[in-house]
């Protein structure tokens, strides 16, 4: 077998979450209209105020256009060709009633939902297409006053919190995809950590797109009350399909005084095949506000999947002394495209932000780091450190860095470092001379390159992320 054959061979087997689960589902007919929104809202037995919220967002959306500034080549999306609601027919009442086929799906993905089998110390909310199918460890968390449930349940049981915070960080007016999400979001996770509580376990949501021709529009809202602490992890996969599927999520984080939210993502949506056919269009708006003094929000993301990634997890540093962090590893192999980065908006005094972005491109991958650091006029002694490194494998990929800086207060300190490197032939030879295969050598060097970011992930997930990096780069050299 020639080396090109071997590469093809490896690439063709690279995405192992690409299976389809055969269950009966409820669908909304394709298309988007006020009637469809009423249908979704009725299906979910929502209160009137939420329906109004959706309709308002929808009307806004019809006036908006997709952003054109990202450095992405995207085939036009037919928003009327997508079904905006897909749910397993039998809605589960408790974990024991979850369709065994769905449980099996999550088992296959390595996400055991039965509490006794669940990863020790990790509570999971599993979202299958449009609805949440199971949340584990609810009881144990409730004892401490922690609310961790699906968004739909939160609407039903904690309407005041939802009313207060929904859209408070990412308003429907924010952008095209945020407006779309506000109109049609179907489920997601809700977290509330009461004053002074340190959440005793990792909270995790696992998103799975299963149905064909559907989009996924989930909504996540996390509120950390004064002096509380929570670490949250999001994972996702989808079957391999030839059409592109749309994922447009909104995540809002609110950290009150002295609170800390750590939000980690391992994004492994189906990236499309080696020729760039199929794959998820991932348009996500993630933003957190450090509302109170000395609060902290930390985003860590490992982006290996999706054919298109458009995503800028951001922090509004409003409270004095608040801290924002963004640690990112993004891989673009084959024909994947990513335009990703962060915004750090310093409003309070002595606010501090750190950005570490590691981009890896291979094949025909294209990647742009787009970062914005804004220092408001009242943000005395604000500090930002940005480090932005790109690693190229081969000659057919591209990496771009676009940092925006806006400083309205002279007492601030900003540092920016950027590097672009290629995996050198001398590095590969050195590793191979010590007995490592070329693939292992690449993985080793890539892991070394990403280390600063990977070490930010919770332990259990760092291993998973490392494996994903390897799979994503299989056949990238040779």
């Amino acid at each position: 077998m020639s080396s090109t054959d071997q590469i093809q061979d490896r690439l063709s087997q690279e995405y192992d979450a690409g299976f389809v689960t055969d269950i009966e589902q409820d669908f909304a007919p394709p298309g988007l209209s006020e009637d469809i929104i009423r249908f979704i809202s009725a299906k979910k037995k929502e209160p009137e105020w939420l329906l109004e919220y959706r309709l308002k967002a929808y009307r806004l959306w019809t006036e908006m256009t997709e952003p054109v500034w990202p450095k992405l080549k995207i085939a036009p999306v037919d928003y009327q060709g997508i079904s905006y609601y897909a749910a397993p027919k039998e809605g589960p009442k408790s974990l024991d009633e979850v369709d065994p086929e769905i449980l099996e799906t999550f088992e296959k993905l390595g996400i055991p939902l039965h509490e006794r089998a669940a990863l020790a110390g990790v509570a999971v909310d599993a979202v299958f297409d449009s609805v949440s199918v199971a949340t584990t460890f609810k009881g144990k968390l409730a004892e401490m006053g922690v609310i961790f449930c699906s968004f739909s349940e939160a609407v039903e049981n904690h309407p005041d919190l939802i009313k207060k915070y929904l859209g408070s960080v990412v308003p429907s007016t924010d952008n095209f995809y945020a407006a779309l999400n506000a109109a049609v979001f179907t489920d997601g996770s809700f977290v509330y950590i009461p004053k002074g509580v340190r959440c005793p376990m990792e909270l995790s949501t696992y998103f799975r797109i299963n149905a064909a021709n559907t989009g996924q529009f989930e909504r996540t809202l996390i509120i950390a009350d004064e002096g509380s602490h929570v670490s949250y992890l999001e994972g996702c996969t989808a079957p391999m399909r030839d059409e592109n599927q749309l994922h447009a999520a909104v995540v809002e984080l609110v950290a009150h005084k002295d609170a800390e939210i750590k939000y980690s993502t391992v994004q492994n949506w189906y990236p499309g095949n080696k020729d760039g056919v199929g794959g998820i269009y991932n348009f996500v708006t993630k933003r957190g506000i450090c509302e109170g003094a000395n609060s902290k929000i930390s985003w860590t993301q490992v982006e290996t999947g999706s054919s298109i990634t458009w995503k800028y997890p951001s922090c509004i540093l409003k409270g004095d002394g608040s801290v924002g962090e963004f640690f990112s590893v993004a891989i673009s192999n084959n024909y994947q495209q990513a335009d990703t980065g962060t915004k750090m908006i310093h409003l309070g005094c002595n606010t501090k932000s750190t950005i570490v972005s590691k981009g890896i491109t291979a094949g025909h991958g294209q990647q742009t780091y787009r970062g914005s650091v804004r220092i408001g006029k009242n943000a005395e002694n604000a500090r930002n450190y940005t480090q932005c490194d790109s690693l190229l494998l081969g000659d057919t990929c591209g990496a771009h860095t676009i940092p925006y800086v806006e400083v309205k207060n002279k007492s601030s300190t900003l540092e920016h470092e950027a590097t672009t490197s290629k995996i050198g032939d001398d590095q590969l030879f050195y590793c191979r001379q010590r007995g490592l295969s070329e693939e292992d050598a690449v993985n080793l060097i890539v892991n070394g390159f990403c280390k600063e970011v990977l070490k930010e992930l919770p332990m259990e997930f760092a291993v998973e992320a490392q494996k994903l990096l390897e799979v994503s780069l299989e056949g990238a050299v040779g």
């Binding site: 032939d425 590095q427 030879f429 990403c450 600063e452």
Partner: protein
């Protein structure tokens, strides 16, 4: 152990090795000396399988098998080790992690079980002591920010860990201070073994006072110009290469 017959190699169309003949029996230490640019590093690269050279003629057998068709990692696994003249930095990759992966790849090829973390660390500490490599360096990223001398020490540490059958040391002495030279040489001597051959490339007789070679070769313009015993190195030290290059030293 190693047998090189009429080896010719070019790089970018430039002829560098022009018919090298060399026999290194098991257990022997051979030194290669020669002027800058004569092809010493090229020979070491060709033996280790680095890309970018074209072998136009000749044959190399190692341990009874033809070497030149093999991939670099397969040569390494078969027991060929090259201590680089310019060791490469691998930022973010810890020495320990790197070496464990390498050692287990080599062990696998030898049909041995992989070492677990505990056994590996035990072995690493023992071997680090041999060349007096600082514990801190063992844990740092491979060669990243190491001083010139530390890099060279690290190469010999790796060699001690991997226990090759053939060790090629390309100017391991350059960049070492006087004390380090003695320590590293001691480490190398400890690895001398009747089953292990060594090819030591150096410019200085000084190293050969510590690591006494069985045979000394002079490589000039891509060919072995003369072969002798350790006295040959002393002669070169005194007279230079004028006799071989035809150029007088003023």
């Amino acid at each position: 152990m190693l047998s090189i017959r009429n080896l010719h190699a070019t790089a970018d169309g430039k002829s560098i090795l022009k018919g090298i003949n060399l026999e290194v029996p098991a257990g022997e230490v051979h030194a290669i000396m020669g002027p800058n640019g004569s092809g010493k590093s090229t020979l070491s690269h060709v033996l280790a399988g680095r890309d970018g050279y074209e072998i136009t003629e000749g044959k190399v057998t190692f341990d009874g098998e033809s070497l030149l068709e093999k991939k670099p990692e397969d040569r390494a696994r078969a027991g060929v080790f090259l201590a680089f003249q310019y060791p490469v930095e691998l930022p973010g990759v810890s020495n320990v992690y790197f070496l464990k992966a390498a050692l287990n790849a080599v062990r696998k090829a030898r049909g041995e079980d992989p070492l677990d973390a505990m056994d590996f660390m035990k072995l690493a500490r023992e071997k680090a002591k041999l060349v007096e490599l600082d514990d801190g360096l063992v844990k740092r990223a491979v060669n990243a920010g190491f001083s010139g001398g530390e890099k060279k020490r690290n190469e010999i540490f790796q060699m001690a860990m991997l226990e090759p059958k053939l060790a090629i040391l390309d100017e391991t002495d350059s960049g070492l201070d006087i004390d380090a030279l003695a320590t590293v040489s001691k480490g190398v001597n400890a690895l001398r073994d009747k089953a292990r051959s060594m090819l030591i490339i150096t410019h200085y007789q000084r190293l050969l006072d510590y690591i006494v070679p069985d045979v000394v070769h002079v490589l000039v313009n891509g060919q072995i110009a003369r072969t002798g015993d350790k006295e040959l190195a002393k002669e070169l030290e005194a007279k230079g290469y004028a006799e071989f290059t035809g150029r007088a030293v003023s």
